[in-house]
């Protein structure tokens, strides 16, 4: 599988989808909660912080070209290190993936399949995820590069359809909930870029460090810009504090589109593109869970793990009692603390691996002398 290679564009599209998918869930509302009328500043500010953190990571990565984070953990701490880091990332994905799966399914149920049981709606996504994971990372990434432009068109149509409701006064007072809330309180909100951690696992598929760096920077910048635009448009249309009420910000915006008797009720199309993006995200998630299990426990094959993992995800996602419980888990825990796994853990692992590597190289040189 390590012989698989995919291009920069495919990788960037996949990462953009992973990070920006939140726009179609509760992200714009959460930004309004954090920053008030200045909620749009939060993704922009956290983007800058993420770029600084990635700059450090990419500098440290130069010594480990073509290796994923599990390989680097092996260098840093041997088998113990590899298993520990693998388990941490697994816990991370096993936490967020069922939540997103549940949220997408519940949202589809709320909007479209009202009478259908939640397990039925979940199956729709689960089967897609299983098929995608069987087909492998190459297929997933290439499909993502087809889906992302389609979703982008849907996103742009919703934005353009709402231009007539734009009102700059809705962004005032300019500092919203205050500079402290935005610039200090929002630091943990770097977690909105936590999907970025997938990059550490696709490093072997993209090869050189230069590409790794370009893909990382490009995907972070584009996702940050998309999320900033997403939050900005929402806040330009829905005034604060009403903006903190809506369950699915962009579904509301899609419902507002109304140009004459013909161009209205476009949310049905929006829901379709939205599910496509969700399916692409969830497929990547399932694939990387089984991939990490395989790497962590040095297994030879990953495919036999797909169905059991999907069943586990299906079961876990039904544990939260309600949609509100899932939303709280995502907003109050994952989107506050996952930056530690996405940015701080890799820095720690890379530093340790660098130290160990240098020490070993020093010992070898000493032995030669």
């Amino acid at each position: 599988m390590e012989k698989i290679r995919f291009g920069k564009i495919e990788a960037v599209f996949m990462l953009i989808n992973i990070m920006s998918i939140q726009i179609f869930l509760g992200f714009p509302r959460r930004m309004a909660e954090v920053g008030g009328t200045a909620g749009w500043m939060v993704p922009l500010y956290t983007l800058l912080l993420s770029l600084i953190l990635f700059f450090i990571i990419s500098k440290l990565y130069t010594n480990f070209e073509g290796k994923d984070i599990i390989d680097i953990a092996q260098i840093a701490g041997g088998t113990f290190g590899r298993v520990l880091v693998g388990l941490i990332f697994l816990a991370n994905y096993f936490f967020i993936l069922p939540i997103i799966l549940r949220m997408f399914s519940e949202n589809v149920k709320i909007f479209a399949l009202v009478q259908s049981p939640i397990s039925f709606v979940l199956m729709f996504f689960i089967i897609g995820m299983i098929i995608a994971s069987y087909l492998g990372i190459e297929a997933i990434v290439r499909i993502a590069s087809i889906i992302v432009p389609i979703v982008a068109v849907g996103f742009i149509v919703v934005i353009l359809g709402n231009v007539k409701y734009f009102d700059v006064s809705k962004l005032l007072p300019i500092l919203g909930n205050g500079p402290y809330e935005i610039f200090i309180g929002a630091i943990p909100r770097i977690s909105i870029f936590s999907g970025f951690s997938t990059l550490y696992f696709i490093a072997p598929f993209i090869g050189k460090n230069k590409e790794f760096k370009t893909i990382g920077n490009l995907s972070l910048i584009l996702s940050g810009v998309i999320m900033t635009i997403g939050a900005l448009v929402y806040l330009l249309v829905v005034p604060y504090p009403t903006s903190t009420e809506n369950l699915l910000a962009y579904l509301h915006l899609a419902r507002y589109v109304n140009y004459g008797r013909f161009f209205q009720r476009i949310e049905s199309v929006f829901v379709l593109t939205w599910c496509l993006a969700g399916l692409a995200y969830l497929s990547v998630g399932l694939f990387f869970i089984v991939y990490i299990i395989k790497k962590t426990f040095s297994l030879e094959y990953y495919r036999p793990l797909i169905i059991p993992t999907a069943v586990i995800l299906f079961t876990i996602c039904l544990i939260p009692q309600s949609l509100m419980a899932s939303i709280n888990l995502e907003g109050d825990i994952y989107r506050k603390y996952s930056w530690l796994i996405a940015f701080i853990l890799p820095i720690a692992v890379l530093l340790l691996a660098k130290f160990v590597k240098r020490k070993k190289e020093g010992e070898k040189r000493y032995e030669k002398v």
């Binding site: 399949l113 259908s116 039925f120 729709f124 087909l135 919203g176 504090p241 419902r255």
Partner: protein, 426 residues
């Protein structure tokens, strides 16, 4: 083995296709009943009296919505009323005796009775916003009197499609200036806003059965010091009109949050639109500046966006607005040659003064009588603060009541119609 896997994948894809049909949610269009208008009154035997005007698609389709014009309008709808504790329990009750399931996705208008609106509509709005079937573009109307009576009186004559009738009726503000756009989503946003307050279209049933019954008791012309009413000096239901169409749409219901606090007549509504920045165009009648017993009629249009500013002087807001309009001459009854270079300025000045007086009267009513900022000066004021906390502590709506005003109106008469020069009678 490879062949087996391929078959498995194909089977899984087929299984997924079957799920896309969403068989649990299978609903046929024919199995649904589509209300076009919903009316809410205070209930007698329960909290709420809910009236539904249901579209009869067979009648609409049968008579054709575009051709022929008129005649079958009253047959294109059916009206039902129930007393119920809540909106959804009412729907449940209705579903027991209407053979089709009620689907609200084609509702065009929600009518609240004035009595209910004065008690507050927030709890009903929340219930509607939460439901995906209620479209954000639904119009909010307040009926002077019972909503049930109003809905029963809606019998369109020129349009057989009732949905289209409401769309056109409530979009007429663009060329009359006597009502406003009161789509549910904007109304809802404003009920929760601390900077701008909502308005809803004011509707009613005409109290005159024939032209012999006409009187001016309900007109607001005397309050404005006029000898005779102009066309905007009425509220819904009071207009001196009669005919097949019993309903009347004129003026606005003014809200403070979710509670109705007052009414504007057609004339004040025009000034509201001008200050709000949503005025488009309308015919406008005013007394001739030189011969007061004669009228000048103009087609007034918005020229540029209204400029608004709020200054704080001695801790009191000073509301400054500059309204920029243009006009075409439609009629000069006196025959005075206002089109001439010498006289055009006189007419423009007279129109500006007339509008300014009306706007000051409207602003005074808005601040002192209603205490609600429906023109959105608060949106400008909000920009003077850095944080939301500072803005909230400022308590705009309390300060608004003590406002003073500075209104500038700029009118340019652009076109004289097809006559370039007025000549007096011989």
């Amino acid at each position: 083995m490879k062949k087996y896997k391929f078959v498995m994948v194909i089977l899984l894809i087929c299984l997924q296709f079957s799920m896309l049909t969403g068989c649990f949610d299978r609903r046929e269009v024919d199995d649904m009943a589509y209300p076009i208008a919903l009316g809410f009154d205070k209930g007698v035997t329960n909290d709420l009296r809910m009236t539904l005007q249901l579209a009869l698609p067979i009648s609409i389709g049968g008579s054709g919505s575009d051709g022929g014009g008129g005649g079958g309008g009253d047959k294109s709808v059916s009206v039902v009323t129930v007393d119920t504790p809540t909106i959804y329990s009412g729907l449940n009750m209705l579903n027991t005796f209407i053979s089709k399931q009620i689907n609200l996705s084609h509702v065009k208008v929600i009518v609240f009775s004035e009595e209910l609106a004065r008690e507050g509509v927030t709890k009903y709005l929340h219930a509607m916003i939460r439901n995906k079937e209620f479209r954000p573009s639904i119009h909010i109307v307040v009926s002077r009197g019972s909503a049930e009576k109003f809905i029963n009186a809606v019998k369109p004559k020129l349009e057989t499609n009732p949905a289209r009738y409401y769309e056109q009726l409530l979009g007429a503000y663009r060329y009359t200036g006597f009502t406003a756009d009161s789509q549910m989503i904007e109304f809802y946003h404003r009920t929760e806003s601390s900077a701008v307050q909502p308005v809803a279209v004011l509707a009613g049933v005409s109290r005159f059965e024939s032209s012999d019954d006409f009187d001016l008791e309900g007109s607001t012309y005397k309050e404005k010091g006029r000898e005779l009413p102009l066309e905007g000096d009425f509220k819904a239901g009071e207009s001196t009109k009669t005919g097949d169409l019993k309903i009347d749409i004129m003026g606005l219901a003014v809200f403070n949050g979710g509670k109705m606090v007052g009414e504007l007549d057609g004339d004040e509504t025009t000034y509201h639109l001008m200050l709000d920045g949503t005025f488009n165009s309308s015919f406008f009648t005013m007394p001739d500046p030189q011969e007061k017993d004669k009228f000048i009629v103009l087609n007034i249009k918005r020229s540029r966006k209204t400029e608004k500013r709020v200054d704080i002087i001695n801790d009191k807001p000073k509301l400054c607005a500059k309204v920029i309009l243009e006009a075409d001459v439609l009629s000069i009854q006196s025959g005075i040659n206002y089109e001439s270079r010498e006289n055009i300025g006189v007419l423009e000045k007279a129109v500006e003064d007339f509008f300014k007086e009306g706007m000051l009267r409207y602003l005074n009513k808005s601040c002192k009588q209603f205490g609600t900022d429906t023109s959105g000066f608060g949106l400008k004021m909000k920009g003077k603060f850095l944080t939301w906390k500072e803005w909230e502590e400022f308590n705009w709506l309390e300060k608004y009541k003590d406002s003073t005003f500075d209104v500038t109106v700029d009118v340019k008469i652009r076109r004289p119609g097809l006559i370039l020069k007025s000549l007096p009678d011989v």
